[in-house]
Each structure stands twice: as C-alpha cells, then as structure tokens.
Symmetry: C5
Subunit: 84 residues, 5 copies
C-alpha cells in the first residue's frame, strides 16, 4: 500500500456505467506522485490516507466488476505517529 494525503476531489459526469457512485479523491502520494482513488470512507482534504492499488482495489466492490484500480482503505492516525 502507499501513504498519501488528500488534495482535492474530481467530478466526472460522463463516465462508464460500471464506475460505482462515490467520491473520487485526488491524492498526493508519499513519493510526490498524484493519483485518483475511490473513497468509501468520506475522507477530507488534508487527511492522510492509506491506498491500495490494482485488482485488489476492484475486489472491494462485491457483486460487480468495478473499473477501480485505487482505493482508500484507511485514514492514517496522525496522533499515534507523533507519539510513537
């Protein structure tokens, strides 16, 4: 997985029907790259998140074949990171 920080949101009105409804967040990754991840958790701009990529991201959507290759799977606890 990779760590990243939410920097925005994109909208796509014209889209393939199989793309599930839900937020598409723009994330700046640990290494400085950018990607768009599906967000099932309701994350906010500035939040540190954990992202999984590839076919395992699509596997999150049960009962449908979703064309999603990046998924936010957790919000990273920032307080713990400071205390550790």
């Amino acid at each position: 997985m990779i760590q990243g920080r939410v920097i925005g949101k994109i909208w796509s009105s014209r889209r393939v029907a199989s793309l599930p409804p839900g937020a598409l967040l723009e994330v700046e990754t640990d290494g400085g790259g950018r990607l768009i991840a599906f967000d099932p958790l309701g994350c906010n701009t500035g939040e540190a998140v954990l992202i999984t990529q590839g076919s395992v991201a699509a596997g999150y959507f049960t009962g449908r074949t979703a064309p999603v290759d990046a998924l936010i799977i957790g919000s990273i606890d920032e307080t713990n990171e400071v205390n550790s």
Copy 2:
C-alpha cells in the same frame, strides 16, 4: 486511477483478433508520461480524462478476454474543478 489529457489517436490495422474494435487514444498523464488507452466514451483531443489500468481495465469487456490494460472510465468535469 490517473488523470490525463488526450493528445492524439493511434491506428493499428495489423492487430491481434482479441483486441476489441474502438478508439485507441494517446494520453499524456498527470506525471508527464504517455500511454494508450481504450476509449469507450468518444473523447476528443484536449479532453481531461480519468484512466484505470491493469486487469480491471480488461474486466470492462464482458464476455470476452480483451488484451486491454488501460481504459478511459470518465471525462473529468473541468468547470467543477474551477468552481470548487
């Protein structure tokens, strides 16, 4: 997923039979790279698009095993991005 902008189209007359008919667009990605994505939406040159990659791209084609590893899954609403 990654964001990109359509910069052209390629044609391939001599191709494997399992490649589905449809537009193959050249896209410049957010990070400056280039890839060729299958376009089921009829996007135009200059349009901002959302691309999914890997086996989930092939999963879009039901009832066939398509050798497609990059698929345009949405056109990005550019007006919203300005208003947000």
Copy 3:
C-alpha cells in the same frame, strides 16, 4: 519481490472492514521508495524484509477478499549475506 527495511508502523482506526487485523509496517525499499506492507511475521524496526506486491499479496489471505497489495513474506537472513 523487492527487498526493504522496516522503518516504522502506521495505525489506522478508521478503515474499511475488509482490511484484515494485523501490523501495517512502513518499509523503505531497496530503490529508496517507501511503501506500507502487511506483516504476518512480527518484524521489527530495522529488520530487512522481502516483500511481494499486487494481487498475489491479497492471495495470502484465504477465505476472504483482502484489499492488501503489499505483504512481507520473509525476513532476510543478514548473517548469511555477509558469509556468502
């Protein structure tokens, strides 16, 4: 697979339900990048580890569809490396 060295641990309290319980370690890879890998072996900070990525990492979790794309599959024997 890639080699890496454990440099920390992250916590994520707000997470998708399908993420299995277990340690999520931050690893610096051989090439200088960073990733977060699921650790089934109980590795420590500073330990050299072997990591597998992609859908084969998720395949480790039997009987469930885990959104895990990076897995520590071994601790690298450092003494042997010196002796070889």
Copy 4:
C-alpha cells in the same frame, strides 16, 4: 497500453516449459525504457508496436497458463499518424 519500437530479439534455450514458443522481441518504449514482449504478429526490427502488460497479456494464451506479462497486440500504422 504503451507504444514502443522493436529494437531486437532475444533467444532463450533454457526456459520454463510453460513459456509458449514464439518470438521474444526487445522493445524500446515511448518513455525510453526497455522490455521484452511476446510477439504473435511477426513484427520486424524498427516497427512501431502497441504493447499490453500484466495479467491481460497472459490472458491472450487460451487453454494454458503462460508466464507472459508483455504482449505485442498491434503494429501501429505510421502512415495514418502522419496524415492525421
């Protein structure tokens, strides 16, 4: 998919039995990298080709599990590119 240009051919006499017989071409990709792709089309050195990668490349081989992660799926029409 990515675009590339055929720059050579490799031979491998000692190989795993599941690797299908056929040409293994060395390709320089659009971004300057190099990879080896299985070629079912009989491409020549200097030819511009379209390459698919990952498990969808292996999916091209029906009835067998081929350890192939890069496949030439088309020859790119260079004349059209000039006329467009």
Copy 5:
C-alpha cells in the same frame, strides 16, 4: 518481461509457509533497478535472465497459491545475441 543479470542470492529462514522452497535470486534489471526473483532453473551469478512479474509469476506454481511476484522464466542465450 524484463532482462536482468543475477547478482546474488538471498536467504530467508523466517518466512510465510506458502512461499515455495527454491532459490531467491537478486537480479539487476536492464534499467538499473534490483529485484528478487524466484528461480526454477538453477541460474548462476552473472547469468543473463528473463523475468516475468505480477500475478502471472504466481501462476507458474500449480495447485498452490504462491506469494511470488517475480519469476525467472529463461536464461538468455548470450552467444546468439552476439551473432545476430
């Protein structure tokens, strides 16, 4: 696939049970990166090899779910390369 050259071997005594027994070779790839690949062919240090990556590497192991994402599928004939 990618080309590489074997530069060493790693040992991992503490490992997940699903990792098949066999050599884990360190390979320097054509592009200068390094990875660890499972070697079913008995390659030596200095040998030029062909590597497949991702889930197709795991597909080599029949009847088991192996957490292997890089596999040596051939030794590259170096004499031929010079003669071609």
